[in-house]
Structure formats: C-alpha cells, structure tokens
Amino acid sequence: MLGITGDLALRIAKYYALAFILLLPLPLAGDYVTHLAIMIMLYSITAASLDILVGYTGRLSLGHAAFYAIGAYTSTLLSMNLGVSPWVGILAGGMLASLFGLVLGIPSLKLRGPYLAISTLGFGVIVQLMLINLDWLTRGPLGIPGIPPLPGGPLDLRSKFSFYYVALMLTSVAVYTLHMISRSRIGKVLMSIREDEDAALSVGVNVPLFKVLAFIISTFFAGLSGGLYAHYIRYISPAMSALSESISILSMTIIGGFGTLTGPLMGAAMLTILQELLRPYLEYRYLIYGALIVIVMKFFPSGIYGFVQFLSRKVRG
C-alpha cells in the first residue's frame, strides 16, 4: 500500500510496540510526570506533523499553532454548543484544521523561504485575532473554561492516569501514521519537492498539488492534537495561536532534528523537560535555555537526533 511493503510497516510497528510497552509504567512516577508525559505526547504529534511540512516538503511554517488552536476550538465548540461527542469533535477539529491548511496552502504556493515563513506567521496572528474578535462564536479573549473531558466509558478520563494511556495509544497511532506517510510514496514525492522543485516538476510531479497535500496532512494532525489538548486541560484561549506557541513547536521540530520524524519527538521531550528542570532558576532560566538552543544549533545542525547519532557512532567506534 502506498509503496510501503508490509514488511517495513511491520518492522517499524514493532519498534512502536516496544516503545509503547516500555512507556506503560510511567504514570507510576506520579501525576506531575504523567502530566508532562501527556504534554510531551501532544507536542510530539504537533511537532511531528510540522515535520511533514518542514522536514519533508521544505516548507517553513511559523503559524502551526494556529491549526492546533483551530482543532481545539472546533472540538470544544462542537461538544459544548451542539453536544457532539468529543471524540467526533476531535476528528472534526482535525478536518477543519486541514481545511484551513488548504486555505493557507493554496495562496502560499508561490512563496518560498522567509516569504512563506512570515506569511504563515501572519496567518497565525490573524487566527489569534479572529478568535479574540469574533466573540459571538469563540466567546472572546477570556477563552472557554469547563470543557467536557473525553468520554472514556468505564474510565474517568479526567484522571491523568487513565488519560495517559489514551494519549499514549493515540500518539502511537498518530505518529506511526505520520511515519508511514513519510516512508510512503507520498513521502518520497514530498521529499523530491524539498530537494528540488524544478527537478520534481521535470519528472512529472504535480508540485502545487503535493505542496497543498503536505499542508493538509500536516495541519490535520496538528488539529487532532489541539482537540486532545482542549479536552485534557479543559480550558482553551486564543493565546494558543500566539506566535510564541508556533515558535516553540518549530523549535521542537528543528532542535529535535527535522526530516527524521523521530527527531521532533526528541525535541518535544527535551524542550518540555528542559523547561521543567530549569524551573528552580525562575527568571534566570531562559539565559540557560536560550544559550542551549544556540549551542545545539551551532554544533549539531541536525539537532538532538544528529547528536544522538553522533554519540552512537562514537560508542560503536
């Protein structure tokens, strides 16, 4: 299917299963660690989805948080205003996000590099301002408290313990799907666009179509994780679409190692954990945080993933 042999799919699935099993006992470490793990997973989906756009297709986005916010708002408003099940809401959130991905993807087809980056930045800001200004729909800048939790049948998904397992399952599925897409024919075609648009055109690749497709895939997953976030934290506000959020998602993708898909997972884990470890330093901690970003990027262009590879090569001699 799609150019992945069942063999490869199975082999990669095995690693995911292994990771899944290894991460099962984590909630025993307490609610704080569980909460962080859940946040890391939600960020992982978003950062990995951005990687499809940035790392695989070579399209820089500084507005990815907007899709995360659109997913969150869609699911929230559907479930609170129309009584739609949050599960359906999350899916609808992903779809609406990818619709907006289409809306952003088409006009930005001709744009490259910083032009694309700043346009997407503008899109993020516009979405944030619309969430604030269209208060008849979005309930305005104060945001929406009291979002219903995910219905879990016998499980109470307000508890972090049970939510962790739902999130672990969904994240595994989502990231595995992204992984499969990146290894599929579509993934290879996207990479060819990243490598050289003209060359891709000259061998018959419908470049505009695939660029838009990359936006749609990427934003769909961002929307999904936004919906999950909304029903987990149970409070959302327009600040979700702020530039700083987009930048932190992009940081995870790039610092983790773009174009690898496992890199963004590492980035999400590292940056989230780093922020927590630096907590005791209060207002001094961003000195360390900023300096670390500079150092990693200066010495390891392919991010933490590159660093880990470097280490493993050293170990093996």
Partner: protein, 403 residues
C-alpha cells in the same frame, strides 16, 4: 544506514530522555529536617512581557511568608514558599501547578496575574482539593463557576468597573464617553461592563477602540477618539500602556478627562506618566498612603525590604496570604474543606482594607476612586470616594493643568 537502526536509536533515545527526566523530576528536594512546614505555591509571570507585575507579586509573597513565619507560622507550622514562573502561558502554568500538587504537595496556590492562566490551572487544583487564592486576576468568571476551593482577595472586574461607572456617571456627569481597551480578556470585559452600565445612566458611547497587546503607539486610536469629542475617556490598560496613552493623548492635543481601572495603582505608573497623569480618575483597591495601621505596616515593611513602594498587586498577594492565615486559624485545622468554609466567614484588616468574602469566595473589598492631583508639588493619588476615606474633592482636569 538501515532505516530501522536509525528508528531504534531515535526511539531508545526518546525513552531514555523521558525516563531519566522522570527520575530527575520526581526527586524531592531535601528540606530542613525536623521542622514541620506547609508549602504554599505562588505562580506569577516572572518572565515575558508581564514580568513587571510578576515582580510585584513575588516580592509581596516573600514578605508575607516572612511575616507569618516570624510570628510563629500558622497553627505552629512554618510556611514554605514555592515560586514558579508562568510567563502568562497556560501550558507552562499547568505544568507548574501540577508540579506543586504532586511533587511539592502544596497546601494552596496563590496566583495568577493573567485571568486566562488562572482559568487554565483552576480545574486541576480544584480536583486535587488545593486552595486557589487569586490575588490579581480580575475576570469575573473565576469565582462564578461554583468552585469551593477558590477565593479571590481583590475586587473583580464586575465590582470595580460597575462602581467606577456609577461614580463617574453620578459625580462627573458626562453626556458622552469614549472607551479604549487592550484587545484581550481584561480590556474586552472591562469595556463591556462599563459601557453597559453608563448607558443605563444615560451616557452616550461615542467611540469604542481597541489596541493589541504589545502596542506602543496609541495615537491612531486616540485620534479617532479625539474626533468623536467625548466628555470622558475610559481606558482599560496596564501600567506601561496607560502611561503611554496619557502621554500620547496630550501630544496629539486630546485634553479630556481620562479614567481608568485599578491596574494603574503604582508608583511606577506615576513615574512613567509624569505630569500627564494629572487629573486622571481611577479605581484603586489599595492606597499606600492610607492612614489605616495595617496598611501603614505593610507599606513600611515592603519599602524596608524591597526599597520601593508596593503596587496594588502586592497588596492583593499580601491579603491572599493573610486570608489563608486567618482562615486556618479560625478553622483551627488545616482540613481543606473546613478552611474553605472558614474563608467565607473570616473578617480581618488587610492591606486593602477590611476583607471578608461572599459565598462564592469573592472578597468584598472596598473599591476606592482616586484622582491624581498635585500635593506640595508632587503627584499624588487623592481619594475621592467613598465618603469614609475621602481625602479631597474632584477637580476638573482643566483646572489642574493650569493653562
């Protein structure tokens, strides 16, 4: 290199990171042995664009804890303060609060500045039965959701804005008004409440303008207001923006009566705005010049420790800690349900005045209305209202400006 080996390296690394971090993060700090303490958390924006207000909160919290501990703590237990930065971001704040709940096992959390952050952390705190004492966030909704463990020690948006609107309508008697607010929850709610209230009293709103957070130049908005020619201009903004708004209004020749909410009650505001603040009428729920002994003591201690005058946010934080102290002492137990009930019954003299709470946990603080006037050549806030605290009379700004 084979695909699967790279993947393996990646996944193993992720798991290693997570597990090592889990170990690091769950290690409990070793405290002084023997002495029993109760931990209280403070969440505030210590970094980011609102860090100046976080500083007000942090300094007051440290001072309050020192004060309580120097008098033997609460029910014999010393208080240990845990401070976390939120940068006014919901995700950082929820993680911080989760850490406080799980790792530090705090008894209560005091915070936050941003209403959006307070609302974000509220469910987690309520479900784990931790008290949330809100000293600054004014969004009315925070205490309207029926949470038993939430209490707010400052006047909320509704209280201060309606009382402000009533005062303006009754004493200044404008026929028309313009409104200018920051385009976020604070500004939007403020303008809505104020506008509706003064309209009931027959005041016509001739302009409603917004500016985005981070704006430094307000002349476009002010120019529109100037063209609408209102009798009074109501502004919802924090210190930095408010000072610029007054300066720039005068720059483009907009000399009108300005009025604002409580967010501008600080010495720094008067320094930043300078003489442009003359004539401004605004809400205050804390006056450092107040003659009341408790306020005097608070101001004196604050100045002694931090070498600056406390802002009203500092007073809110101080009173939040004092609420906890008096509530626990009157309940005679640390049992959180009993303390939550006790909060709704205590009545004490705080920095802001006499503090007591309603059923919803909203402090019924006194809202003061002040005007910035010159006393002995120095800018000072003069209390106009209520009668009991009155220090002077309202002077139309034209007379204060002289020419």
């Amino acid at each position: 290199m084979p695909v699967s080996r790279n993947l393996l390296i990646g996944l193993v690394a992720v798991i290693a990171i997570v597990v090592i971090a889990a170990l690091l993060l769950t290690m409990r700090p070793i405290g002084p042995a023997g002495e029993e303490t109760v931990k209280i958390g403070l969440i505030a924006p210590l970094t980011g664009s609102l860090a100046e207000h976080g500083l007000d909160m942090k300094q007051a919290a440290i001072l309050a804890v020192e004060e309580i501990n120097s008098k033997g703590g609460i029910l014999g237990k010393k208080i240990e303060l845990v401070i976390e930065d939120t940068a006014c971001k919901a995700d950082l704040a929820t993680a911080a609060v989760q850490k406080m709940i799980t790792q530090d096992n705090v008894y209560a959390v005091v915070g936050e500045y941003c209403s959006t952050v307070t609302l974000a952390v509220q469910p987690a705190l309520m479900e784990s039965k931790k008290l949330l004492l809100v000293p600054v966030s004014v969004a009315t909704k925070i205490t309207e959701q029926g949470y038993k463990y939430t209490a707010r020690s400052c006047a909320n948006q509704w209280m201060q804005t309606t009382q402000h609107a009533d005062f303006i309508a009754e004493h200044l008697k404008p026929r028309t008004a313009a409104m200018l607010g920051v385009n976020d929850d604070y500004g939007r709610e403020g303008l809505k409440i104020w506008g509706d209230r003064v309209k009931e009293k027959g005041v016509r709103i001739v302009a409603e303008e917004y500016f985005d957070p981070g704006t430094t130049d307000f002349t476009p908005q002010l120019s529109k207001i100037k063209a609408a020619d209102p009798d009074i201009i109501f502004v919802v903004a924090n210190i930095r923006d408010a000072a610029n708004i007054l300066k720039q209004a005068h720059e483009i020749g907009l000399y009108k009566q300005f009025s604002m909410l409580g967010g501008v009650t600080s010495e720094e505001f008067l320094q930043l705005a300078g003489d442009d603040a003359l004539g401004l009428v605004h809400v205050s729920y804390f006056e450092p010049t107040s003659k009341r002994p408790v306020a005097q003591e608070f101001v004196q201690k604050f100045v002694q420790k931090w070498n600056r005058m406390p802002a009203m946010y500092s007073a809110g934080v101080w009173d939040a800690f004092m609420t906890l102290k008096y509530a626990v002492e009157s309940a005679g137990t640390w049992d959180v349900d009993k303390v939550a009930d006790a909060i709704r019954k205590v009545r004490f003299e705080g920095a802001q005045g006499t503090i007591y709470y309603n059923e919803k946990g909203q402090a019924q603080t006194k809202v003061l209305l002040v005007q910035v006037q010159k006393v002995d050549g120095k800018l000072r806030r003069v209390i106009l209202y209520p009668e009991s605290d009155k220090e002077g009379v309202y002077i139309p700004p034209e007379r204060l400006w002289g020419s």
